[in-house]
Amino acid sequence: MAGNCLQAVELTTSGRPVLLPTEIECSLLSAVDLECEDLPNFPHLKSGLLILTTHRLLWLPDSTTTIPTASSSASAIPLAAITHIFAAKKSIKSMFHSPRLRFQLSVSPEGRVPDSGSGSRSVVVTVVVRGKSDLDAFLSKFWESWRGRAWEIGDEQGSSDAVSGSGSASSSGLYTREGTVRMVGVSGILRKEQEMWESTDKSLQDAFQDLNALMSKAKEMVMLAEKMRQKLLSGSQPNDEELGSKQEMQDWMLSVGIISPVTKESAGAQYHQQLSRQLADFVRLPLERAGGMMNLIDIYCLFNRARGTELISPEDLLQACSLWEKFDVPVMLRKFDSGVMVIQNKSHSDEEVFARIKTLVMKPDALRTGISASDAAITLGIAPGMAKEHLLTAESKGLLCRDISPDGFRFYINLFPEIDPNDLYLVKDYGIYHTWLRAASASG
């Protein structure tokens, strides 16, 4: 509940804001206060994270220091309600204070930010930047987003209003010129040059158009993919063939995921933190499908595929995963003895996997010829690379033994503890050794 003034912001389990359908993040400032002297019931918003998007200004409490209370929880101010942004005042006084930014907000008579339409009252809100941030860069992005009026566009393709290119203002003047011109003399040459300049400018503008068109199309594609996924899920009983292509479709759709990538530009010093949270959100679904554990390399590929542009480096990924320890997210990074790194659900249980492996390896076929990583992968329903890690871990716990031969790398149930060192020929008529002997002799 954001006091009674501002709109509430929904958060994901990792503390990231839930964005509106076409909303994209633009910039981020940390250690920010929001104040409003004109409204007595304005909430106490101190030292939080200010996120600028195409639609709203979001203020999130800093999860590591402040305890969210009723009055200082995640709040939003729709850009639509902002009526004016003041230019930054540079004075001697401002050099000693924390940098400030002021804008005018339209509210209802009771002092609430309206959900739609505009209020009748006008108040001034001050943003105090206590941390080290570039306020000028933020201010220019703030202008852009506010001028962009993305909230008016909805699902339609962005009109030329959304283009931020400064060329559009001056070139629109040129476009209103009518009539053909004859190319003669010096004026002809000058005109030719101007026309060339015009066409270059036009194609630049079109290019920007395309980029915006692409961005909005991305949203459409995601919706389309979601529809198709639903359709496939509710489809009739699949036979093996259908199942194969169904898998393909799902994989393809999974890769079309995120519209609002957290970038270094928009998040600044907070980059790794925000990335870390976004990664934790993203990873939930693929992890489920992979059975609770997934190779870090696979995550790297999936995540970057979904981002499309603004790819992250392997170091960024590793850093983002390491940060998970600091937050309360349901996933963790794990390194096996072999050096392989995986992401797994915190709820994953090694013991359960070992029990399943033991059952598998005590079957008559497995007793005779052992199991390979692929056999285990099929039975356990996980990737072969993951299966091998599990088998190696089970071996190190003394559950399995390895057998390396021209037939390959296979694992058997560990018989060594069952053999009596004082009587090498003794086989009891119960127990694992007995079961193994029966199975081994059966093949003749």
Binding site: D403, S405, P406, D407, L415, F416, I419, P421, L424, A440
Partner: protein, 180 residues
């Protein structure tokens, strides 16, 4: 029951992982112990004194029934364990040949003493070859004993004053005077 010559093979000889050197410490220790015992028993049954690691004719290191055989590294590991226990010795620095003491030298010395007593040879003289291959030794464990091993046992007895070793007429045939 499977056999290699006269030697009875235990059931775990058909367990494929037995032929792969195990990396996990506890498992490996058990595996080494089983191999050590098997090697000693086999050598004793067949009177084998020297194992060449590269030989194909030491059949214990392979099991054709399950198509498995020990790698060179594994053979070296198991024999080294025997050496560390004092039941074997490397005959060369490059560790390609190993002397297996399925009786310790001390045990062989006692066997020689028994042999001497059983045949009433307390004050007599014999050549080393006669001890090894002579009529008296037939039917005893001394028959066909590796010469190096016998010399070591004799030297041990010499130090205890039970006999004296002297050079014979030819360069490679030494003699022994018992004084037990």
């Amino acid at each position: 029951m499977q056999k290699l010559g006269d030697f009875k093979l235990p059931q775990f000889f058909n367990y494929p992982p037995y032929f792969t050197l195990q990396p996990v410490r506890d498992t490996r220790e058990k595996q080494i112990q089983l191999w050590k015992d098997l090697i000693l028993d086999y050598c004793k049954t067949h009177h084998i004194f020297v194992i060449g690691l590269e030989d194909q004719d030491f059949p214990l290191f392979s099991n054709p029934a399950i198509e498995r055989s020990l790698t060179y590294e594994a053979r070296e590991a198991f024999l080294s364990a025997l050496v560390a226990q004092g039941r074997a010795e490397w005959l060369d620095k490059s560790r390609r040949k190993c002397l297996v003491l399925w009786h310790r030298i001390q045990d062989w010395a006692n066997i020689v003493l028994d042999f001497v007593k059983d045949n009433g040879l307390e004050d007599s003289v014999m050549t080393v070859e006669e001890i090894r291959t002579g009529i008296e030794s037939r039917g005893t464990e001394l028959h066909g004993i590796d010469r190096t091993v016998l010399m070591r046992a004799l030297k041990m007895l010499e130090q205890k004053g039970k006999l004296a070793i002297f050079k014979g007429t030819t360069a490679d045939d030494e003699g022994v005077k018992f004084s037990i």
